[in-house]
């Protein structure tokens, strides 16, 4: 993935438009740094969850609550959305703005599906199981960790939607390209975090 200014131009747009300007390169670098910080943030939340996962305070425990088929479906939606965001970036690199927009749209729809399932899941716990933020240390840790991730997903959906709007009225340029690239990095990051949540929270909750 070397980048120079001399790469083939593609209908006026360089091959990797996100790295064509100094500003774009700075943005990508800074976003990597930011994700480093985000990793510490989620790391701390995971550590907290692991410390408190058995502190159920006589409320429901992981084993009573989790419904793996539902979570598996949500996982599937999010994993596929990561793939579609890769397709979006590939479309961007081939300078196909319409295709790029469509893949971004698919990504957003899949993200919304994930978020919908999560909201449904939470409402089930609160309604049927009487499992709320205040129930136990376990419940607090669960809602905070998974909810933080959910908030990240919601923010990502909003962000990518706005970028789709910008794409419509500014077109694909060396200004919009870094924004789209960075939002895709973000989307992969929250996908990776989810893989950990699926393992640490749900699978571990079911088996141990």
């Amino acid at each position: 993935m070397t980048t120079t200014h001399a790469e083939p131009m593609n209908g006026g747009l360089p091959h990797e438009p996100e790295k064509a300007t100094a500003e774009g390169r700075n943005k990508v670098l800074a976003f990597w740094l930011f994700l480093g910080g985000e990793a510490v943030l989620f790391g701390t939340l995971f550590a907290t969850f692991l410390a408190l996962r058995n502190q159920t305070n006589e409320g429901p425990a992981a084993n009573d609550l989790f419904h793996l088929p539902l979570v598996a479906a949500a996982t599937f939606l999010l994993l596929v959305s990561s793939l579609t965001s890769v397709f979006a970036i590939q479309a961007m690199h081939r300078n196909r703005p319409a295709l790029l927009r469509n893949w971004l749209l698919v990504t957003v729809v899949l993200g919304l599906g994930f978020l919908g399932l999560e909201i449904y899941e939470f409402s089930q716990y609160v309604g049927l199981e009487k499992f709320g933020m205040t129930t136990s240390a376990f419940s607090s840790a669960f809602y905070t960790l998974v909810g933080f991730h959910g908030a990240h997903v919601a923010f990502g959906i909003l962000w990518i939607s706005l970028l789709i709007g910008q794409l419509a009225y500014k077109g694909l340029t060396t200004v919009t390209a870094p924004k789209i690239y960075v939002s895709a990095m973000y989307w992969h990051f929250i996908d990776v975090v989810w893989v950990f949540i699926f393992t640490v929270v749900y699978l571990l909750g079911k088996v141990g």
């Binding site: 740094l33 930011f34 502190q55 607090s140 905070t144």
Partner: protein, 612 residues
């Protein structure tokens, strides 16, 4: 208006300096009130509750709102100049970082006027900081105010990392970078990896207090010790966030005034990296007495003591730099030379505290208070004074008065040792920390009196410094490009204060101490790395300010979301998160504006450059 919309790193530096100075003053007044209360046994100048609020706000203000912003002020003023850059990587974010810090700090200090300041110590240990023991909104001001201010720090850290990685002038490899740029780089990296931990800690504590969560509430299955782990995983690296920039300043000042290159430059670099790395491994030395067990205690004791090795390397390098140099004791160098023994003493008591069995004796006594003030005041604050006197002419175009500078130094350092040296003995004799008074005839009386007199002397030293600033600002500008005449690094190769674009032509760096190298080679200035051309500048914008106002409103709204107010309308607005939503709307609206309207900036053309 100009100040609200500026994105120029040199002006942001000045904003950081004034705001940090203001908070430093507030923290200093709090310190004097604490010392006044402790001047004699069984004093009733303040009551226990107020005393708790005073120590909490003193510690919190000093660390987060006083010295950190002054560090950021110096970094902003100097770093782009030292690496030969026209600006930081993200001028907009730079402004945003400042404004979130300021509004976070204002929120925190509003607590004095809105029903009680935080009172659980600057470490906010649970369950002391839970609603059971801390019933006012004080700790909410702490969690939310620090959260907002911390956001600004994180933004600043990322900005400096990106700036140093990508914006160095041609020829300035990492191993040719000035030490202050190095320590800024490493400090920013520590910020990036330490601050998210406290972000989470503060969120969890906020949730416990406002949403009734159970993270730290034993009755609900939570764990108070968990808070200590999270706090100190951030808190110990925080100490290095504070001291490494001071190391950087000392490493700039000493070579300049010894007219010699820094001894052992590369070992300084590696010592810095090693200290940062070890800084993350030792957090539990604050928790020896919580019952982690002998194995954990031993491991953390040993890893803590290891840090003495790279730190010792630094101390010896500074001494070897002074050794045989033609040393000039101008005010900056007085502070820098005073730093060395004072900081070393703090380091020695640090090793004593790191010995777990001994710490059972020292823990929560004035010995600890003496130790960390030797490090933070005798180390960092002395370093900041050195840096401020050193770079003042570059920042403001005026030399501070040397006479007043020397008065500042001697009163401050005398007051400092009077205040804190005796506290070692108070601690060893058993005087407890964070207790609002003590009984007579325990041999505490005289030493406390001495300590309070010393604090007053330090206050006088600070006032002399303020006088110096005022007197200097009334003089006409008198500082040349290289006012100390022995400047070694790039900032001294351009006018004081620098023009908006810093460098007319980006300099070509041909070695360590780039400017010194050119001077000794008989050249008049830096060789340019580019022809004179049009310079791109970012435009001023009020958006960072507006975004921070929004966050401030959202924070207040969330904090009072469970309260009942006299007016039904007000209660309605708060209880339904309408105020919070409004604040967030302002912030997100400003973000949207920022993203929709591309800022193409403006250009300074060669003609204008020549016109000067």
């Amino acid at each position: 208006m100009d100040w609200i919309t500026t994105v120029d790193h040199k002006k942001i530096a000045i904003l950081y300096l004034w705001a940090g100075g203001l908070f430093f003053g507030i923290g200093g007044i709090e310190a004097l009130l604490i010392r006044w209360q402790l001047i004699k046994p069984m004093n009733d100048f303040v009551d226990a509750q107020t005393f708790n609020e005073l120590i909490t706000m003193h510690g919190t203000t000093m660390i987060f709102l006083g010295v950190m912003p002054i560090i950021f002020a110096l970094m902003n003023a100097v770093i782009p100049l030292q690496i030969g850059a026209r600006d930081v990587a993200f001028p907009f974010l730079n402004a945003l970082g400042f404004w979130t810090f300021l509004f976070g700090g204002l929120l925190l200090n509003l607590s004095w006027m809105m029903g009680g300041a935080p009172d659980a110590g600057w470490t906010s240990y649970t369950p002391l900081s839970g609603t059971a023991y801390s019933g006012t909104h004080g700790v909410d001001f702490y969690t939310i105010g620090l959260q907002i201010a911390g956001l600004g720090t994180l933004i600043g850290g990322i900005n400096f990392l990106a700036t140093i990685i990508t914006m160095r002038a041609p020829g300035m490899s990492f191993m040719r970078m000035p030490m202050f740029a190095w320590t800024t780089f490493i400090t920013s990296a520590i910020i990036l990896f330490a601050f998210p931990a406290i972000t989470v800690g503060l969120v969890l504590l906020t949730f416990d207090r406002i949403l009734g969560a159970n993270f730290f509430v034993p009755g609900g299955g939570g764990s108070p010790v968990l808070w200590q782990h999270i706090f100190w995983i951030f808190g110990h690296p925080e100490v290095y966030i504070l001291i490494l920039p001071a190391f950087g300043i000392i490493s700039e000042v000493i070579p300049t005034f010894a007219r010699k290159r820094l001894f052992g430059y590369s070992s300084m670099v590696f010592a810095t990296i090693l200290i940062a790395f070890l800084g993350f491994m030792v957090w539990a030395h604050h928790m020896f007495t919580t019952g982690l067990g002998p194995v954990a205690n031993a491991l953390f004791a040993v890893s803590t003591m290891l840090i003495a090795v790279p730190t010792g390397i630094k101390i010896f390098n500074w001494l070897f730099t002074l050794w045989g140099g033609s040393v000039r004791f101008a005010t900056p160098n007085l502070f820098a030379s005073g730093f060395i023994p004072t900081f070393t003493m703090g380091g020695v008591t640090g090793v004593m505290l790191a010995s777990a069995p001994a710490d059972f004796q020292f823990h929560d006594t004035y010995f600890v208070v003496a130790h960390f003030h030797y490090v933070i005041v005798g180390g960092l604050v002395m370093g900041l004074f050195a840096g401020l006197h050193y770079w003042w002419p570059k920042m403001f175009g005026r030399m501070l008065s040397e006479t007043l500078g020397k008065w500042t130094f001697w009163t401050f350092i005398t007051g400092f040792h009077l205040t804190f040296f005796v506290q070692h003995f108070l601690g060893l004799m058993g005087m407890q920390r964070r207790v609002f008074t003590y009984l007579p005839n325990q041999h505490f009386d005289t030493l406390n009196l001495v300590s309070t007199i010393g604090a007053g002397l330090m206050g006088i030293g600070t006032l002399v410094f303020l006088t110096n600033i005022i007197v200097t600002s009334k003089k006409p500008p008198d500082a040349g490009d290289d006012p100390w005449e022995d400047g070694r690094t790039l900032e001294w190769s351009i006018p004081s204060p620098p023009p908006e674009y810093n460098f007319k032509q980006t300099p070509l760096v041909r070695g360590l101490d780039a400017f010194w190298k050119e001077k000794t080679a008989g050249n008049k200035g830096m060789a340019p790395a580019e022809p004179i051309g049009s310079i791109h500048m970012p435009s001023a914008t009020p958006l960072p300010f507006i975004m921070s106002v929004g966050i401030f409103i959202a924070g207040l709204g969330f904090m009072f979301s469970r309260d009942h107010f006299g007016s039904a309308l007000v209660s309605f607005l708060f209880n339904n998160y309408i105020v919070t939503g409004l604040g967030l709307l302002i912030t997100f609206g400003a973000m949207l504006m920022r993203s929709l309207y591309d800022d193409h900036g403006w250009h300074i053309e060669p003609g204008e450059l020549e016109g000067r």
